[in-house]
Symmetry: D3
Subunit: 229 residues, 6 copies
């Protein structure tokens, strides 16, 4: 009935096609977002904990209460190899919900990273472990384990809808969500786009102008652009 | 396949039950949000353009491009009496997408208000018209009409999923979204909650402590609370 | 050589034509901004200290150091009837640079208001005096008088260039700056725009759609808009 | 040992002298802050829930966990007539920790208002009750009752240290804290300042310049100010 | 008449003296800003896309519409070797206006970098290319090409006025603008300042106090500083 | 009488036990914060100027006026080997109060770093010097030396109370303050916590779930958690 229900753990979820996930992992977020038709992007405040972090996997979703990371422990049990934990919080909170102990646990379960609309800590350890984390804050402040949220319900994370099983792709440019059912077609569209861009890059690097390559001059004149000296 | 598709106008949408909307209009946002099980609330940055503004209606959704209000004109045609236009923008933008001309148009079509994750202008006129608007910004800056978005697709507006036809309730406390299918049960739950609170209010106003009324003392001791002098 | 020079008070400035200022005072900020060709608007964080505040006058500009309002006293002497003091700060600062004592002084000199990219205090008094102030912050924290800035040099205030003598128009929608030399033509353009909008308002209020009134349907189809049921 | 200890309720606190509180209640926050030697002010984000709200009372302090208002109920029992509840949160949180039910309870116990570095809800009711609340956010989102904080320990609220029993003065300009031991001397200093300002106001309103009244001209020249035409 | 006019491309601009640009490129932004008399600095939110990025060149200015990078393609044609593209947006927008394709194009035309009061994408590629970019946001979200702005008109970028041909210097400390006409004198002043600081550094590193080196003790006493034990 | 008094330099302060400081330097901020009972943490906006910066030392406190770094020179004289300068500002200010010259001076006096609730500059130099600085902003904008603050008075820095002599520990996760008198007991608690976590890490890395290791399952059921398929 509503976006998410509290106090629920869904155990059986339908993950996106594994081959499509592998294909998507070869592309950057900007390319995937374009291939999606420019939807599914999280807000730009979602940043990697260390430069160069990147991940691609299927979502195990979590809904947390501010200042409380109880459900991340519940989520750990639902992780399967290749999953990304995607955590939303019911209101903005910079607390450090996640650190190196949970990273060790998540990795042991096969997780390839974490995306959280909140804070994390142990930045130095996460960097050394090369465990990719994308968060909206960094804070040493720990959390309690007192209030139920949910696992594997649909969530809105940093402005994007994430359903369990969706593909999540993240790199220095941000985080994008590909619905499970569309993973294969988006992967194909991304590959096509990438191929198309390669040719353009060579032209532009050789000094050809986008004005000419994209045939923009006429449209600019029609729109009223005036050149003066 | 994705949260929303660009360039689409859906004409036939299923609006929430009219009687349920009427019932919901009698409650404040805080009450409805509690009755929902604490989901569906937009982020707190969504504020009324004038103090005391409030609205309750069925959503006609719009997805806008930053700096471009073309789709609000397209949306106007889809409005039916009792609707609220709910506008999301593909990225944060404070521009004044909406002002008194569009308010005149929306009202003429039967709209009971606007909720927009962006800016509006003509605050003085909107206030005089008593046309309730909830926005995240106020700006005199106008917008262009050049790029397609969509109308009546699911959107994420200020962190909440809104499907066309959902009930949107807004007052000084914020904006909450009730899925169309759940409107009646939420309306009942809200009424029950309100009745329950009335009794509590009298007790508290008479000086009874929440500690006693809610029987919290034992739990506090169990949690380790210590009283010192 | 640079945008502004520190330690300078320019006494003779060329104010915009008085009649043009009077004409401009009849229009809202949104209208003037449109008439300007959509330039000259300050950032939306600039808000009136009390709802309904509005002003229109010629700028006496001030450049302040953070936490220091010395130059506002220097500016007071340069005020002529009909002037608006426009204060920029060399870096963002929420301190209360201005309160009711300075408001009494400015009013006595003929000032019609203040626009400041910083904080003010004595909100209650300013409201009772109906002295219109637009600021980016409210703070009880007073300032020192120790460091020179300048008066009547060009400043960038909340993102807009203001030259001494320019017309500044402010209302609930924000603050716009009209260069002195263009005041008359902008006033005319604003009047034309207002006249043009009056007709549109009637049509829209009668239920005519902007889609038809502005003949948008064809362009929407050309852009690829699709209607579905 | 530390700023505050969790899980503690201190029952016996030393409140500031009642007469000094009464005297302080006659002055605005800006005046009291100046009389304090410009210390003790909370950050400017602390705003009244309705325009014109003001309060002056002795602090009952509360330390809350984000998303959890349990301790506000514990605090209610410690309120004595003339107290102001001052609530800090261990990390930034916009949730609605307080609404009209708690306001009814607090008022019944004699509280004259609430200052909270977090969110509140039921704005309409609080406004009708004229129960003065100063907060950093407004949100319909309710809170849980699961995690201990403390009552009547020293807290840092919006950047200011508050000890239980201190005087808290709040109006449209912000919130200032006067240590209990200094209440009488600050009250005297505030009265002296107010008397001194009255004379200045008359001079300024009559057109005398601050430059002359405060004898600033020589210092400005010494600092290097140059007048040009 | 106004700060900038829309729909204009100015082809002939007067660039700052090449030798002065070369000299300025040897200094950090802090030194140049001091040499300017502390004016011309952009707001601190302007950050390098990769640590250690720095640039110095002559400005080709661009005014963009939010969510629209059309004019960056128009600007590419106006680039001459040694230029920096400086892009302002008519309202705040975090979209990714610029990525590696445009970087390839700009570099091919001789540009030494980009400064934009908006977002960029392809951070990994830009870092590998060592193409220095300073922006206020990073976002994978692409932009449309639909609305005219201008090229080589005066703009306000992140609070600083930039005229085409001005020198723009950027490093980890921020971005400063040197008017073309003043480039040589600022370069000289920067060199003088740098020479002066070298001596100070040695003294300070040897343990001499700034209090003594700058002869501050007397002024501190005069201001009323008190030492206590 | 108040949190801090202006115009005072306290020369004799009681620094935390040196051995305890050495022990604390071996732990991360998150561990120390937990060992403190989760108090004493500065707000998360306090970030290292270069990745990997860390420090641990005894506080020399400074209270600055916005845009004015005079007191940092006064503080330099009070530094003893092993000290950290902790600077608060009376209101939020991003100016560059500190750069490489002061870093040279502070280091020469034995300081091990700086923590400032404001801006700094010369990021490149500070990084090369490996002088650890934690700040809330980076800005090339210099400051004046005109207004008194204080040295070695209690301050509130980024939301945490700091008394002169307290231990300050900072790393990529943030900044925490340990009161001087509690340094030894916190050091012991941190060591105990670290030992305890080592065992947990091995279990988690081996795939054991936190649900089992922390025996959470029963409490989750009691709280009402439901597993569904």
């Amino acid at each position: 009935m509503s976006t998410s229900t509290l106090g629920i753990v869904k155990r059986s979820i339908t993950r996106a096609d594994r081959a499509a996930v592998t294909t998507l992992s070869e592309f950057g977020v900007a390319t995937v977002h374009e291939a999606m038709g420019r939807v599914g992007l999280m807000r730009p405040g979602m940043r990697p904990v260390y430069p160069g972090a990147r991940l691609c996997g299927t979502a195990v979703t979590v809904l947390l209460h501010p200042g409380d990371n109880w459900m991340l422990h519940v989520a750990a049990e639902q992780i399967q190899p290749g999953d990304v934990v995607v955590a939303a919080v019911t209101s903005e909170c910079s607390d450090g919900f996640f650190g190196e102990l949970l990273a060790s646990s998540f990795r042991a379960r096969g997780a390839v990273g974490l995306v959280i609309d909140g804070g994390v800590r142990d930045v130095r350890d996460l960097t050394e472990m090369r465990f990719p984390v994308f968060s909206t804050a960094i804070s040493a402040k720990g959390t309690v384990k007192a209030t139920l949220g949910s696992v594997n319900v649909p969530v809105v994370c940093a402005g994007a809808v994430v359903n369990p099983g969706d593909v999540v792709v993240a790199d220095d440019d941000g985080v994008v969500v590909v619905p499970a059912a569309g993973a294969e077609s988006v992967a194909k569209a991304a590959a096509a786009r990438e191929a198309n861009e390669a040719g353009k890059r060579d032209h532009l690097a050789a000094g050809e102008l986008g004005l000419d390559m994209y045939s923009m001059r006429e449209a600019l004149v029609r729109a009223g652009l005036k050149y003066v000296d």
